[in-house]
C-alpha cells in the first residue's frame, strides 16, 4: 500500500499540484478580500473547493493511462487500494488547507466563531471532499474519464436539486455548512454529518465494487 500511496502523492505533485494550489489560493484570497471574511462565503467557498478537489483527485484514471493500468493490474487488494487512495487524498487535502491556513486563521480570529462550530464546519468540508472523491473514483472507473461527465452532472444535479426536498438536506454539504453557521442545526448537525459520511463511504465502496468488476474484465 505504501508504494501506491507514494505513487499517488508523486503523481499529484507532478501533474496537479501547481494548478490546484494556485486555484485554491486565488479563490480563497478573492473570497476573503471581497467579503472581508464573511463566514458564509468563506466556508461555502471552502466546501466548494473541497468538492472540486475531491472530484479532481478521484476521477483521474482515464482509459489507457498508466495510472489506470496500475489500478487494474496491481497486486494490491481492493480494500488496501481504497485505503491508500483515501489516505493519499487526505494528505493532499491537508496540504491545501495548510497552504490556505493564513486566510482561514485570520477568519477564525476575526470572526471568533466558537471552536466547536469551526470543527463542525471543517468536518463537513472534509466529508464533502471524501464524498466527491468517492463519486469521482466510482464514476471515472465506471464510465471512463471522458464519459465520467455524467457522474459530474449527477453531482451538480444533486447539489442543485438536493437542496429542496427537506429529507435530503442533511445530505447536502453546502446546506449543512449554512445551517451550522446559522446555529440552527444543533444536534441534527452531527446526525447529518454522520449520514453524509455514510453516504461518502457507501460511494467509496461502490467505487471498490466497480474496480473489482473492471479488474475481472481486465484479467479476461
Amino acid at each position: 500500500m505504501i508504494p501506491f500511496l507514494i505513487g499517488e502523492w508523486a503523481e499529484w505533485r507532478e501533474r496537479l499540484q501547481r494548478k490546484s494550489l494556485a486555484t485554491a489560493v486565488a479563490v480563497t484570497t478573492l473570497i476573503s478580500v471581497a467579503s472581508f471574511f464573511d463566514p458564509v462565503l468563506l466556508w461555502i467557498g471552502l466546501g466548494l473547493l473541497s468538492l472540486a478537489l475531491g472530484w479532481r483527485l478521484g476521477n483521474r484514471y482515464p482509459p489507457h493511462s498508466a495510472a489506470r493500468e496500475v489500478l487494474l493490474r496491481g497486486d494490491l487488494g481492493v480494500p488496501a487500494l481504497l485505503l491508500g487512495k483515501l489516505l493519499s487524498a487526505l494528505g493532499i487535502w491537508v496540504t491545501h488547507v495548510f497552504f490556505l491556513s493564513p486566510a482561514l486563521v485570520l477568519a477564525l480570529i476575526l470572526r471568533s466563531l466558537p471552536l466547536p462550530t469551526e470543527l463542525a464546519l471543517a468536518a463537513v468540508c472534509l466529508v464533502a471532499f471524501v464524498l466527491a472523491l468517492a463519486a469521482g473514483f466510482a464514476s471515472g472507473l465506471a464510465f471512463g474519464r471522458s464519459e465520467g461527465l455524467p457522474g459530474l452532472a449527477l453531482l451538480i444535479l444533486w447539489l442543485l436539486g438536493g437542496a429542496f426536498p427537506p429529507f435530503l438536506r442533511p445530505l447536502h454539504p453546502l446546506l449543512a455548512l449554512w445551517e451550522i453557521l446559522r446555529g440552527e442545526a444543533g444536534l441534527g448537525a452531527f446526525a447529518g454529518l454522520a449520514a453524509l459520511l455514510l453516504l461518502a463511504l457507501g460511494l467509496l465502496a461502490l467505487g471498490g465494487l466497480v474496480l473489482a468488476r473492471r479488474r475481472r474484465d481486465y484479467a479476461h
Partner: protein, 593 residues
C-alpha cells in the same frame, strides 16, 4: 412607591389571536383553562412578594419610556429579577436581568414598542424560576401630555387636566415623592411636573434625572418654598451654578437648557389663579402635544433602522487586513505556480504565512469586533450637564447571515459604561437579547432591535463621558440659537476642536456647514465621510426637530464604551442642539406666568 399607585399581582389573561373565529363556548373554556393555569404562578408571585406597576399611577405616554416599578419582596441574596418583553405570540423580544435584594424597589425603564404586548417578570434563584408575573405592556398608555402632580389637590388636578381644552385633554398623574424617577429615561413621557417643595428628600439620582429632563425641555413647578438652604429650588440652583430670575407676582425661575424650573413661595392651592386652566397653561408652558419639541430619548433616537456600517476607524483596520491578505494571496499564487516544488518549501511558506496571520489577526482583533458594528451616539442637553446616549451592536449590513449572534461568542460582549455599572448580554437562538445588569446603579436600558441587534439608551451626566471639553460645552456654554450659526473660536465656547465635524443647519433644506482650517464655515450638501454611519440619525433629528440646528462631532469617550469582542467602540458621534429663536423646545413658547 406611592400608596396611590396600582400594583399588579398574578397573571392577567391575554387576548387570543383570532378569537372572533372561535365559538363563545370554546372561548370561555379556553379562558377558564388559561386562568386555571395561571393561578399557581399568581399564588407563587404573591407568596414571593413579587409585585409590579407600570407608569405613573398607571399612566404612561404612548411610544415613550415609562418606569416599571418592581418589588421583589424578601428575595434572598443572590436571586435575580428578569423583565422580559413578549410579543403577541409570547416570544421574548428582549429581556433584562436585575440583581434582586439590592433595595426595596427596582426601577426598570420600559419603552412602549410596537409588537410588545406583555411584560413578564420572573424571580429567579440558582434553581430556576421562583415566581412569575405577567402584565399587559400597553395598558394605561395615553397619546398626549402627562403632568405629574406631587402633593396637589383635586382642584389643581382638574385645572391642569383642562389646560388645553377644547383642543386636547391633559392627563394628570398624582404620585408620591418616592415615585419620581431616579432613571432619566423614565421622564420621557412626562410633559410637566408640579410638586410641593420636598426639601432635601430627593435622592441624588432623582435630582440628576430631574435636571436632565428639564434641560431637554421639561418644566417643573415647585410650590410652597421652604426657607433657606432646605429648599429644593435653592439646592438645584447651587447644583447647576445658574442664576435664578425673579418672576412677576413673586417667585423665581431657573432656565436650564431648553426647559425651566419655577419656584413659588405659596402652596399650589394658594397660588393666584390656581384653579384656572389658563394659569397652568402659561406656567407649565404646555402647547398642543403634536407641536411639542421636547428633547426626549424616544424622539431623539427614533431612527428606526440605523445604518449598520463599520465606523471609519474600524473600516481602516479592515482595509489594512484586506490589503495584507491580498499581498499574501499574490505571493502564494506565484509560489504555487512555480515549475518545480518540494514539500519543505511549501510547508515553510505556509508556516510563515500562518505566523503572520496569527500575529496580524490578534493585533487587529480588538478593533474588528468579531465582524459586529458598534455604534454610539450622544445628544448633549445644553445647560444641564446631561446627555441622552444611545449605543448599539449589530451585524454589518453586508453580512450575509444578517445576525451577529452566530459568529460572536456571547461571553465576549460586555457593556462597561460609566465605570460604575456594567453587564453582559447574550442572544440565544429563538430569543431576543438579554442584558444582565451589573450590581451598580444602571443608567442604560435596552430597546427592541430588529435582526437580533442590540440597542441601549440612557440619560447620563456629561461628566461621566470622560471628555471634560464636552462637559464644558454642554454644561456651561450659554444656550445659542439656531439662527446664529455658532462661529468657532468665539466666546460661545465653540472653540475649534479636532472632534468637531459639522453644523447641520436649521433650514428645511438639509444643509451642512463644515469647519475649515481657516476657522470659517463652508457650506456642503453632504456630511463629512466620518459621519456616514450616523448620517441617517442626524437627518432623522433634523426632521423631528424643525428649526433646530445641530453641532456635530465625533470622538472617543473613554468612560462611555460598549466593549465588543474585547475592544470598545472607538468613537461616538455627539450632537449639541440649538433651538429656534422662538422658544425653548416649544414648551416654553408662551413664557412664564
Amino acid at each position: 412607591m406611592s400608596s396611590d399607585d396600582t400594583m399588579t399581582e398574578g397573571s392577567a389573561p391575554e387576548s387570543l389571536p383570532g378569537w372572533p373565529y372561535l365559538g363563545p363556548r370554546l372561548m370561555t373554556g379556553l379562558l377558564a383553562l388559561l386562568l386555571s393555569l395561571s393561578l399557581p404562578g399568581a399564588a407563587r408571585a404573591e407568596e414571593a412578594g413579587l409585585r409590579a406597576s407600570l407608569g405613573f399611577a398607571g399612566l404612561a405616554a404612548t411610544g415613550r419610556w415609562a418606569p416599571l416599578w418592581i418589588s421583589g419582596g424578601g428575595a434572598p441574596p443572590g436571586s435575580r429579577i428578569e423583565v422580559a418583553r413578549l410579543d403577541a405570540v409570547g416570544a421574548v423580544r428582549s429581556a433584562e436581568i436585575f440583581p434582586a435584594g439590592g433595595g426595596p424597589t427596582i426601577e426598570c425603564p420600559l419603552r412602549d414598542e410596537a409588537g410588545i404586548t406583555t411584560v413578564r417578570l420572573r424571580l429567579l434563584d440558582e434553581e430556576g424560576v421562583v415566581a412569575e408575573l405577567r402584565m399587559p405592556a400597553r395598558d394605561g398608555r395615553f397619546p398626549g401630555h402627562i403632568v405629574l402632580l406631587v402633593q396637589g389637590g383635586p382642584g389643581i388636578r382638574r385645572a391642569i387636566a383642562d389646560t388645553l381644552l377644547p383642543l386636547e385633554p391633559v392627563q394628570v398623574a398624582e404620585i408620591g415623592l418616592s415615585s419620581l424617577p431616579a432613571v432619566g429615561l423614565d421622564y420621557d413621557g412626562v410633559s410637566a411636573l408640579v410638586l410641593g417643595d420636598p426639601g432635601a428628600s430627593l435622592s441624588p439620582a432623582q435630582v440628576e434625572a430631574l435636571l436632565g429632563w428639564i434641560a431637554g425641555g421639561g418644566r417643573a413647578v415647585i410650590t410652597g418654598k421652604r426657607s433657606g438652604s432646605s429648599s429644593l429650588f435653592t439646592a438645584l440652583v447651587a447644583r447647576t451654578g445658574e442664576g435664578p430670575r425673579p418672576l412677576e407676582g413673586g417667585g423665581e425661575s431657573l432656565e436650564l437648557g431648553l426647559g425651566a424650573l419655577l419656584d413659588f413661595p405659596s402652596e399650589a392651592a394658594e397660588l393666584p389663579g390656581a384653579s384656572s386652566p389658563g394659569f397652568w397653561r402659561r406656567t407649565l408652558g404646555l402647547v398642543p402635544y403634536a407641536q411639542s419639541r421636547r428633547l426626549g430619548p424616544s424622539r431623539a433616537f427614533a431612527d428606526p433602522s440605523p445604518r449598520w456600517t463599520a465606523p471609519p476607524e474600524d473600516a481602516l483596520v479592515s482595509q489594512g487586513i484586506s490589503a495584507g491578505l491580498l499581498l499574501w494571496g499574490i505571493a502564494a499564487f506565484a509560489f504555487a505556480r512555480r515549475r518545480r516544488e518540494t514539500v519543505l518549501p511549501l510547508l515553510a511558506f505556509s508556516a510563515l504565512g500562518l505566523g503572520a496571520a496569527v500575529t496580524g489577526g490578534l493585533l487587529a482583533d480588538r478593533a474588528h469586533h468579531g465582524g459586529a458594528v458598534g455604534l454610539g451616539r450622544v445628544l448633549l442637553l445644553p445647560g444641564s450637564g446631561s446627555a441622552l446616549a444611545w449605543m448599539g451592536v449589530g451585524a454589518e449590513d453586508r453580512n450575509l447571515l444578517g445576525d451577529w449572534t452566530s459568529f460572536v461568542a456571547h461571553d465576549r460582549i460586555a457593556v462597561s459604561a460609566l465605570g460604575t455599572e456594567g453587564g453582559s448580554f447574550s442572544a440565544e437562538r429563538g430569543e431576543g437579547t438579554t442584558w444582565a445588569h451589573g450590581p451598580g446603579s444602571s443608567f442604560f436600558s435596552t430597546r427592541i432591535a430588529e435582526g437580533r441587534r442590540f440597542e441601549v439608551a440612557a440619560l447620563v451626566p456629561v461628566e461621566r463621558l470622560g471628555r471634560p471639553e464636552l462637559a464644558q460645552l454642554a454644561g456651561r456654554a450659554p444656550l445659542g440659537s439656531s439662527s446664529n450659526l455658532p462661529p468657532p473660536g468665539t466666546a460661545s465656547g465653540l472653540a475649534p476642536r479636532s472632534g468637531l465635524l459639522a453644523y447641520l443647519g436649521p433650514d428645511k433644506e438639509v444643509l451642512w456647514w463644515l469647519p475649515s482650517a481657516a476657522g470659517a464655515w463652508e457650506r456642503s450638501s453632504d456630511p463629512p465621510g466620518r459621519l456616514v454611519p450616523d448620517r441617517d440619525w442626524l437627518l432623522a433629528l433634523h426632521r423631528a426637530y424643525p428649526g433646530f440646528g445641530f453641532l456635530v462631532g465625533r470622538e472617543a469617550m473613554p468612560k462611555l464604551g460598549l466593549a465588543v469582542h474585547g475592544g470598545g467602540i472607538a468613537k461616538l458621534c455627539w450632537v449639541l442642539p440649538f433651538p429656534p429663536d422662538s422658544g425653548r423646545a416649544g414648551l416654553g413658547a408662551e413664557g412664564g406666568p
